[in-house]
């Protein structure tokens, strides 16, 4: 496959590409484990069911040889460095397989003092995209089964990784479905927009999958779990649900790297990434800021300029 030469003509990414990436990841993971560069590598192992993969922390060469990369590798693994697996960082440097969107999360976490670059060995993946949900999960990635977020990906290349697995490959002529959906909602009359979100949020059961899977929801005490005072009702009712999702979007504004994991894991199919996208768009327009392209000193809502827009203030 000649991905580089034909990148603009590609209409599908064949399994061979992912196999090559898998090989590269295995080779690198084995190497850094053998050389004791890292204490473990966070990567993907194949799932029992077809078209699935599951995150794993591998600590031995044998396990590392089972690591995979496929369009089923949807998870943003950076979440493990702040939550379930954060303990491992105390033992030493950790390797992590990261797609471009995961790299943005890593950069953000470095910005927020949650990670140190020197504690990580990043095996970047030149990622053509992953499967969406509710689609056919066969070997070949096409316009029909690629995830919505991947259609507008600007980070196919994992900038800032220690090594990159894969060569450049991306699908051509993908319609920006998410941007179009966002534009559609923005164009609705205000009452219709409210109805749209109300309908979606009313389905929310507060399983907190969106929060738990988010690399940036690393608070030990979520504001929404607090009851003195109770800023957001914890009961899954329309009122509390609305408040929760607004607070979530606000807390992620200027930080979210767009991995869209929240939306993927929502068992109720709430299009959560639209909220994140909308906030990102606003901050780009107002302050020319895009989150996670590199570690920075301060996010857009932790700084100011004296001549910031204030046309909305009387």
């Amino acid at each position: 496959m000649n991905a580089k030469a034909n990148k603009n003509q590609l209409t599908s990414i064949e399994p061979a590409y992912y196999e090559a990436v898998t090989e590269a990841i295995r080779k690198e993971a084995v190497k850094i484990l053998k050389e004791d560069t890292v204490v473990g590598v966070v990567g993907y192992l194949p799932g029992r069911r077809k078209g699935t993969a599951t995150p794993a922390l591998v600590t031995s060469v044998e396990e590392a040889e089972k690591l995979v990369f496929s369009p089923a590798c949807v998870n943003n693994l950076s979440v493990y460095l702040t939550k379930a697996k954060k303990g491992v960082l105390k033992q030493g440097k950790v390797g992590i397989v990261a797609k471009g969107c995961d790299m943005r999360a890593l950069a953000g976490l470095m910005t927020e003092s949650q990670l140190q670059r020197e504690d990580l060995f990043i095996i970047g993946v030149v990622c053509p995209g992953v499967y969406g949900f509710g689609v056919e999960r066969t070997g070949t990635l096409t316009e029909a089964n690629i995830a919505r977020k991947c259609r507008e990906c600007i980070v196919h290349m994992p900038e800032g990784a220690d090594v990159a697995a894969g060569t450049h490959a991306e699908l051509a002529d993908l319609t920006p479905e998410e941007a179009e959906e966002m534009a559609r909602i923005e164009a609705m009359p205000q009452a219709e927009r409210w109805a749209f979100w109300k309908e979606h949020f009313s389905r929310c059961i507060r399983c907190m999958a969106c929060r738990q899977v988010c690399p940036f929801c690393y608070c030990e005490q979520c504001l929404c779990d607090k009851n003195r005072p109770q800023a957001v009702e914890s009961s899954p009712r329309p009122a509390g649900n609305m408040a929760w999702h607004l607070v979530r979007a606000m807390h992620l504004a200027g930080r979210c790297g767009g991995c869209a994991e929240c939306e993927r894991v929502c068992p109720m199919d709430i299009p959560l990434n639209l909220l994140n996208r909308r906030m990102a768009k606003e901050l780009k327009e107002l302050y020319d800021y895009e989150a996670g392209l590199a570690p920075v000193e301060k996010g857009p809502l932790n700084q100011y300029k004296e001549d910031d827009d204030q046309s909305f203030i009387k």
Binding site: G47, R48, R49, K50, T52, A53, T54, P55, A56, L57, N75, V79, Y80, K83, A84, K85, E199, H200, R203, I205, R206, C207, M208, A209, R211, Q212, V213, D225, N227, Q230, E233, S234, S235, P236, R237, G240, E261, R264, V265, P267, M268, D269
Partner: protein, 335 residues
Amino acid sequence: MQIITEQNLRNLIDLLVKEAKLVVGPKLSGSVVLYEPLTAGTELTLDALPRRSSKELFFPVCEDILSYKREGGAMKVTDVDRSKFPETVLFGAPPCDAGSPSILDAVMSWDYKDEFYLERRKKSTIVGIACTKGDDACFCRAVGLAPDTENGSDLFLTPLKDGSYACNAVTEKGQALVAAHKNLFAEGAGAEPVPFVDQAVQKLDLVKIKKWLEEHFEDPLWERIADICVGCGACAFICPACHCFDINDEGSTDDGVRRKHWDACGFAKFTNHASGHNPRDVQNKRYRNRIMHKFKYYDDKFGKTLCTGCGRCIRACPVGIDIAEILETINGKAE
């Protein structure tokens, strides 16, 4: 054998709606199918397993227990009027959903009688349907159910190849439902039933698994399989059998509502004590509890397995934790 055509099934729903019954069934809500009140038979959607189980009919996502208000020096408490709970007919629940209340009845009417659950349960009729769909996450056969298990349903429908359904009134409630709408049902031999789908995980020895669990409260397996759990409640919330809840007072200390809502043992704060101590301090201990509760503790207490093999948790897990695979692993170890 009694046969009902698909059209008549939908007509039945229309009639029940007219009778002011609450009719609940799988319905397209946005992009997902959920159990929701049907306003017409045409809304019934039988081609996909609803995302949430039908347990919410008896055990709502959230419900008020009481409301309180400080008046002068006294606190006035107002109860919920449970007599207002409507007569309900649940349509289109496959065995893995229809079977859940009969598992939960045990705990709900145990030392403390959950009046809310029992009142709803008393007022409901379950029209189950044999499952002809299924995917590689399904494993009902492995936990003692099957796509055609009638237990739990009051009336059980079996899809036939000509689009109609064979009906079996399993309980008196079911018989009453048929009797009240006789003209919609016809007596006949019926076409051949639609075949069932093969399941990937078919056979588990639940006794052996339980024994292994008894002996392996501490085991490296827990760390291996459950350390990747991110601690959300998706699996528990969409599970037909999970029934943990939290109680919260919402409003102010002077005026508010006490609410009961779903909770999940996967949440880090689920077992957090007021002292700050948390006996299940790491995620794998929380996940272990999930397995233990389903395949050991509940069986210890009530002689039942707290799982119907619907596979929802497998499909929904953000990180691909696969309970069927775990059970298979334990099954293998227990040999």
